[in-house]
Assembly symmetry: C2
Homo-oligomer: 172 residues x 2
Amino acid sequence: MDVFDALHTRRSIRKYLQKGIPEDLVQQILAAAMMAPSAGNERPWQFVLVSEQEKKEQIKAAHPYAGMMANAPLGILICGDLTKQKHEGFWVQDCSAAMQNLLLAAHASGLGAVWTGIYPVEDRVKQFSTIFNLPEQIIPFGLAVMGWPDQSSKTPERFDPSRIHRNTWQGG
Amino acid sequence: MDVFDALHTRRSIRKYLQKGIPEDLVQQILAAAMMAPSAGNERPWQFVLVSEQEKKEQIKAAHPYAGMMANAPLGILICGDLTKQKHEGFWVQDCSAAMQNLLLAAHASGLGAVWTGIYPVEDRVKQFSTIFNLPEQIIPFGLAVMGWPDQSSKTPERFDPSRIHRNTWQGG
């Protein structure tokens, strides 16, 4: 798939067919995520693949916007690894770039996915840390819920020229 | 360009030819950035295009890693717009996704770019706010420095299987 097509047609997909995702495709998607840029190339990320039904149900109970996890073949939890951080505070941005790569790679592969936010909501961070037995320095950042799409996809364009300024702030 | 090719071959480019970037290409890149996902589709971003030499020199003076701005045809400053935030604290992730889309769109267009971090470094936030006369609710997030590449590009693969865990945390 062409890059611009992917950027413009990717959208959040929350309904999935009951059909698994081949392991080699999962690896390709993770490889794409790990190619994201990061501050000082620190790559402060870890990935937890979620395929067990019990874990999926725990996620559904823990996260107000991740109910579809229970019916999805795969979740990918991205965590920030503070032990790898060189530039303080940038791990959130690094993990976000990895997440966006992951979503684009999934979309380009015909999968549908949605990014559900965890950090910085304290209660969610606590619950995901417990569910996945995360050490103190590993922070649950965000969860991609993923599967073969079972919903039609239309993407309204979001271009808004009022958001563009030149050389200084313009407007209110 | 194919999506996976783009994801794997994009890298930070810091040397540029002395050649401008057509306005319609800049608009395409901004449109791609604005297609990023955001929490609750809040789209809390603003973009300041930097083309004036005086502003470029001010950036060079303000940011320890953005010296190349002085010799680049274009900078794109992404700002978080707190007035548009629905889910507190997620604007950083939203702006990061927009930045990653922007970098991929630039790369797919033959341009080279590099993401230089501003937020959450207090001193940089203060200086960029002054340079661009930003209102209190507009937070300078990150700067993409951009131009036609004048350096060769090799990208080491970053795939690391030790970062992948299954259904629970594994390893130290």
